[in-house]
């Protein structure tokens, strides 16, 4: 792996689920990159395809779903067509994963030390004693106090926030260059959320790990991510720097999404409303998938899919975007 390669490069990724009534395309032509040390937020509403995208990257799509097109490169190495055994070695070593519920990621029957040491030794050639030292250092790094003592505790002896720290330590155990974090703070209380966000940011900066942060919580994205990708009905509709996407979105869907979020700081008389609901996978409209709900839609939108082209990390899929710098 060379330093110049981005942590993750996804090119025209297409994931589909075969059903009796035909192929349901859950992710259509997703293209994006994540640099080392960069946090890319992937946002969208339930069913938009965020988690499937994440699962595709770590090679854990629920069957019968599969990748039917495009490429995924982690640190320059193509991983989308690897056999299961090779992918298993990449998972943990090249890419770590953090999920919503820390309890399901930890084995309740083993001490966290045993789980950490086993993970470290799977990916790095180390003696038991050296791995234990490394595990304690990892626990310290993720902010667990008295790690030398806590390492021999079982998952149930930790609180929710501390468990999520342990899961992050596990994800880091193989020293991966990329972390897929799927709703890592959703199950946590707000005061704990803030701590975990800080931790993710610090780890990305200091360790140069690229992070794909999947969440529906725009507040979390706003504080954590460097760039944001917005997904709708399986497509990426807009990618750009976090400040731009949140305050000056150009895609009408991104704009509607941002306007619908109540804010703590400003008083809104009325929340913006996108009428209707996201279409089901088996009923995605032709042309731009958003056009039936879009206030700016024209005849062209109903026929031609705008598609998203990525230029220097920024992209937009819309025939009639809002003006640049238009405020919401």
């Amino acid at each position: 792996m060379t330093e110049a390669e981005p942590a993750l490069a996804v090119d025209h990724l297409r994931v589909a689920f075969p059903t009796r009534r035909g192929l349901l395309v859950a992710v259509r032509d997703a293209t994006f990159t994540i640099e080392r040390g960069e946090i890319l937020g992937l946002v969208g509403e339930s069913g938009a395809g965020k988690s499937v995208t994440g699962a595709a990257i770590i090679g854990l799509i629920d069957p019968p779903g599969r990748i039917v097109g495009g490429e995924i490169r982690i640190g320059g190495r193509r991983v989308d067509q690897l056999p299961d055994e090779a992918m298993r070695r990449i998972r943990g070593r090249e890419v770590g994963a953090i999920f919503q519920d820390p309890l399901t990621s930890l084995n309740p029957l083993y001490t966290i030390g045993r789980q950490l040491i086993e993970t470290i030794r799977t990916h790095r050639s180390m003696s038991e004693a050296a791995a234990r030292v490394a595990a304690i250092a990892l626990l310290e790094d993720v902010g667990i106090s008295a790690p030398a003592r806590r390492i021999d505790h079982y998952p149930h002896q930790f609180s929710g926030g501390m468990r999520q720290r342990v899961v992050i330590a596990l994800a880091l155990a193989g020293e991966p260059k990329l972390i897929i974090a799927d709703e890592p703070t959703t199950a946590l209380d707000v005061s704990i959320q803030a701590q975990i966000i800080e931790l993710l940011k610090r780890l990305a900066r200091h360790r140069g790990v690229g992070v794909l942060l999947i969440t529906h919580d725009m507040g979390v994205i706003g504080e954590t991510a460097d760039r944001v990708a917005v997904m709708y009905a399986g497509r990426l509709v807009e990618i750009g720097p976090v400040e731009q996407i949140i305050h000056h979105p150009r895609h009408p869907y991104s704009a509607g999404l941002m306007g619908s979020i109540p804010s703590l700081r400003d008083e809104r008389d009325r929340l913006a409303q996108i009428e209707g609901a996201m279409p089901r996978l088996n009923a995605i409209p032709a042309g731009c998938a958003f056009h039936p709900r879009c206030p700016r839609a024209s005849g062209r939108c109903a026929q031609e899919d705008p598609g998203l082209e990525l230029r220097e990390g920024v992209g937009l899929a819309c025939w009639h975007p809002l003006d640049e710098r238009a405020t919401t």
Binding site: E45, V190, E223, V242, I246, I261, R265, A277
Partner: protein, 339 residues
């Protein structure tokens, strides 16, 4: 405030979570009492929305259940529309609860999947108006569905034919069918996507204006509560620590816990800004710290806070706060910049 519609006075609810008798005898384990709600007092005026916020386990949902009578209080009284409905002098008549409805968090779990929507929405009507005729029932159900933006024809469908947001509209229609005065909403939008949440919140606001409804709105999401509520109570480990008009609470939070909460919530306006991460977690409610339960996490705590439980005291501008530090002036008042 006009005459309150509902008033809670020192309401508490304890749960016995002791191990079984045999374990207590053999392992000498003591009885354990979980004080889910421990002395909560507030009132809600007619046509007003009171928001209750707090982290998980703070007792906000227990308050909702006490208010609608799903739990009986261990202590204290609840007065609704001039009648005592729970507590020492409770009449416990079903009629007293008339005009009260509840909306729950999960629109998938709170609708019976085997019932048609028309039967779901008609159910409270059949209780409140037992002698109602079929045509009248149909008209009212159709009207309730129209009020929430669905069509009367949707009554023939089953819940699985609707999306999450539409199901929550059905829950609201069911609550409205009985022509209630008071809706208790326990995290009504927490299971919904933000764009759907916006639709439901706007709907709830419109309904309040047109029907003069009173809401008790419970949520862990401070921004949602700011949008919907006129007054807000902040709960911590079974007690209200601050109760104030929403604008004041969000601009000049007084209690150190309220400040901590506001500081720790990620918000869109904070893009790219660093935020002071908060130390510590909520203590075990089975074994809360003595004195003010927030003192282990509070930067202003002193000896008195570790010893004495602070009472909720009224300050100027309709603000109530339970904090020794605020009363003694140890906690500085600072308006939030940009709020």
């Amino acid at each position: 405030m006009s005459t309150p519609l509902i008033t809670l006075t020192d309401v508490a609810r304890y749960f016995d979570v002791s191990p079984p008798w045999l374990n207590r005898v053999l392992e000498r384990e003591p009885r354990a009492l979980l004080k889910a709600v421990d002395g909560v007092s507030f009132s809600i005026g007619r046509g007003e929305t009171l928001g209750l916020v707090g982290e998980s386990g703070c007792g906000k949902s227990t308050v909702a259940r006490l208010v609608v009578g799903l739990y009986a209080p261990t202590r204290g009284t609840i007065e609704y529309d001039g009648k005592t409905v729970a507590g020492s002098a409770a009449t416990r008549e079903a009629a007293a609860r008339q005009g009260m409805q509840m909306i729950f968090q999960d629109p998938y779990a709170s609708l019976n999947p085997r019932w048609r929507v028309v039967d779901i929405v008609a159910e409270p009507l059949r209780v409140t108006h037992p002698s109602i005729g079929a045509p009248d029932l149909e008209t009212r159900v159709g009207h309730a569905l129209e009020q929430v933006g669905l069509s009367p024809a949707d009554g023939e469908k089953y819940p699985h034919q609707f999306s999450g947001g539409q199901r929550q509209r059905i829950s609201i229609a069911r609550a409205l069918a009985g022509e209630p005065k008071f809706l208790v909403c326990d995290e009504p939008t927490s299971a919904l996507d933000v764009s759907v949440q916006a639709q439901v919140l706007n709907l709830m606001r419109d309904l309040q204006r047109s029907l003069g409804l009173t809401y008790l709105f419970i949520s862990h999401n401070l921004a949602v509560v700011r949008y919907i509520a006129q007054r807000v109570g902040v709960m911590y480990l079974g007690r209200i620590v601050e109760l104030a008009p929403a604008r004041r609470l969000f601009r000049v939070p007084r209690h150190p816990y309220t400040r901590m909460l506001l500081e720790s919530v990620p918000d869109l306006s904070l893009v790219g800004k660093a935020r002071a991460a908060v130390a510590g977690e909520v203590p075990n409610p089975l074994d809360p710290p003595p004195g003010c339960t927030f003192h282990p996490r509070c930067p202003y705590a002193n000896e008195r806070c570790r010893r004495e439980v602070p009472a909720l005291v009224s300050l100027a501008d309709d603000v109530q706060v339970a904090c020794h530090g605020v009363i003694e002036g140890r906690v500085p008042v600072d308006a939030r910049v940009g709020a």
